[in-house]
């Protein structure tokens, strides 16, 4: 009786909140960085597909073509790796086991998205690049839902 009365008094008093989980060292996460890199993968894939090989026998044009093709491939490779890195940060640092209750397919979604990053490196496949961007969009939705927000999906291109 006395204890419950004391509890009621203590609970009525204002008390500052203390945090047991304070998230990452900076706490700043945003799927936008993954989205920018995934868009770059799609853009480079389209550029590679649009690149026309020069006529046979034109050595200078062939050198230019090879140079441009190589650069486009290198950028695609790099952007796909950066997309994967950004996704892994969200997967392993931001999302916690408690999120699995809301998003039971969380692991599968990230695993498939990471696999798509690899597929975009291995191939020049617009379909895979579009699938990757769609996977990042799904993760964007999960991320903001987990924060109780409904931020719009906006692309740069």
């Amino acid at each position: 009786m006395l204890r419950s009365a004391l509890n009621a008094i203590v609970c009525a008093l204002p008390a500052p909140i203390v945090e047991a989980h304070c998230d990452g060292p900076c706490g700043v996460y945003d799927p936008a960085s993954a989205r920018v890199h995934a868009e770059a993968v799609l853009a480079m894939t389209k550029k590679l597909q649009a690149l026309e090989a020069p006529a046979a026998g034109n050595a200078a044009a062939l050198a230019t073509y090879n140079n441009t093709f190589s650069r486009f491939v290198a950028v695609k490779e790099d952007e796909a790796q950066k997309t994967k890195k950004e996704l892994l940060i969200l997967w392993t640092d931001y999302f916690k086991p408690e999120h699995l209750g809301t998003f039971p397919d969380l692991h599968d979604t990230f695993w498939k998205a990471a696999k798509l990053c690899s597929a975009c490196k291995v191939h020049i496949d617009q379909g895979k690049a579009e699938e990757l961007l769609a996977a990042v969009e799904k993760i964007h939705g999960m991320f903001w839902q987990s924060k109780g927000r409904n931020d719009a999906w906006v692309t740069a291109s």
Partner: protein
Amino acid sequence: MAPTLNPDDRVLVRRVSAIKDTPALGTVVVAWHPSQPGLRLIKRLKSLENNGMMLLGDNPSFSTDSRQLGPIPRSALIGIVVSRVTPSKKIQ
């Protein structure tokens, strides 16, 4: 801090100004976050190093603590937790 503490639990804290000695290792303490002003942390004192206190959560898979934050300066200590008010339980 599960299983010791749960969300919305209320605890009594003895302020650092009232503590003459260094808190005992294993004590649950409240301290200021080293880089987020105004954010109070509640963690367990694991060890005392030359450059500060190693504070760890009781639920490592969920906790962000000295494993990521590094040693917390001794000056950031606010107090030690002496008991949980709701539901009532002595903090071990």
